[in-house]
Symmetry: C2
Subunit: 300 residues, 2 copies
Amino acid sequence: MAIGKVAIVGLGLIGSSIARAVQERLPFASVSGHDASAAVRDQARELGLCDGIADDPAVAVADADLVILAVPVGRMAEAAAAMAPGLKVDAIISDVGSSKAGVADALAKALPHHIVIPAHPVAGTENSGPAAGFSTLFEGRWCILTPGVDAPVDAVAALSGFWEALGAKVETMDAGHHDMVLAVTSHLPHLIAYTIVGTASELEEVTESEVIKYSAGGFRDFTRIAASDPVMWRDVFLANRDAVLATLQRFNEDLTVLQQAIRRGDADKLEDWFTRTRAIRRSIIAEGQDDPAPDFGRRH
Amino acid sequence: MAIGKVAIVGLGLIGSSIARAVQERLPFASVSGHDASAAVRDQARELGLCDGIADDPAVAVADADLVILAVPVGRMAEAAAAMAPGLKVDAIISDVGSSKAGVADALAKALPHHIVIPAHPVAGTENSGPAAGFSTLFEGRWCILTPGVDAPVDAVAALSGFWEALGAKVETMDAGHHDMVLAVTSHLPHLIAYTIVGTASELEEVTESEVIKYSAGGFRDFTRIAASDPVMWRDVFLANRDAVLATLQRFNEDLTVLQQAIRRGDADKLEDWFTRTRAIRRSIIAEGQDDPAPDFGRRH
């Protein structure tokens, strides 16, 4: 299956990055776009993000071989219904949502006669909107596909090839397992970061100005992901509630154990724990999933 | 008070960075060094970190106008006692420990007849050891001095001037307040990061290999500070126990509130919270305390 035309619905950080990557890396493909916000569509036109930006999603997806929904996971059903009248009968419909089981259900219900293959490129920055995207965002990052058991093999291969052309590495797994894996590697970290940044900004004993001044002691690392898009993340937690709450319970258990070790002055337990966690970072760098430079390569 | 000779006891990340910064920015000062580890002393000699490295701490500090203890906070008393016989009577003794009230007590007890001015440069990376240091580590970062009420004004001014010469901005505060501020901006973030990295690596449902592969979803941000020196951090939590436990309780309250919002599907509460936390990062960047580039400026 050849992908000659790609349509992107939702032109925020991820959608605009896909558009830029297609323009740069797939010169023989055309790319059309739509966003529910007129202001975002105007901005996308000014940025020249696609070959064409349509006001009507059904027009944007007309003739597209691949349609990618890049909207918050809570808006997938609505976005799918709005574009449905324009879809080619054999178009591949995919998405970029951070939770997959709920999205798979919503898309299957909204588009019962189409080929739906949910996907999740594990990449991003803390910035939002069409101007935040860049063509190399997916380079060396993983894109997880969660095709249903009845997904056509050639369509899955075409979608894999598309993401590989954008520089990503592709993995396939069950939607439920995806949601558990991402609860750990992405959703829980965001929840924790959002929590601590809120906590720090509301203490009576320490002013917000002090928190900001002395943030280089570690706090600033958390503020990056706590600056991520609020609507996107609200939807992720609601969509992946069970897996998030399950991993949160495990986190709470471990935090209670360390809290007790601090209260009791159990030096060995603390040192053991802190020694074990060092190894994980080395593996992440060895796998090419983070910058080997100290301090993420921040300028000093 | 002129500082013509600086002695550094402890040649890890911070001590070696001070040595390099003195060599680069204070060409008329000499700098001597000592480390309790013979291997570290050898490495420091190979790196040319100081004008001289002494095997005996009392020899290293002889004639020094300023002595900086850059050892884990649990080892301050021992390090102070070991060098005491070599100290000039009017030397300024300082340190770089991440908690201050306990260190102030330990140094006052170990060196009752000397000028002790505790200090804390709020800077660092996840790397440890003499080779990890670099001369620009303190540039634009804050160094907090916590002089006791009887500290000579000219000695405090001399120490301030020293840190400013190394590129730091200097603030003075009470040791107890320092420990509360740093519990929020540094110690709690490290504890949370150490916890979640441990949690993620021990789940049955998700393999460690999956955690590493998909870490770009947010988890990898936490692994950086969870790769920090285990002994240093063990000592920080033991030394600043009360403030850490107090801020941890506040964090736990907030986490419980967000957990309940997720369980109940309270979309508005989640979105409100996530919107507020965005502003903090903008302030940190505006204050020059983090890199304005997306994703900390990581290479993409």
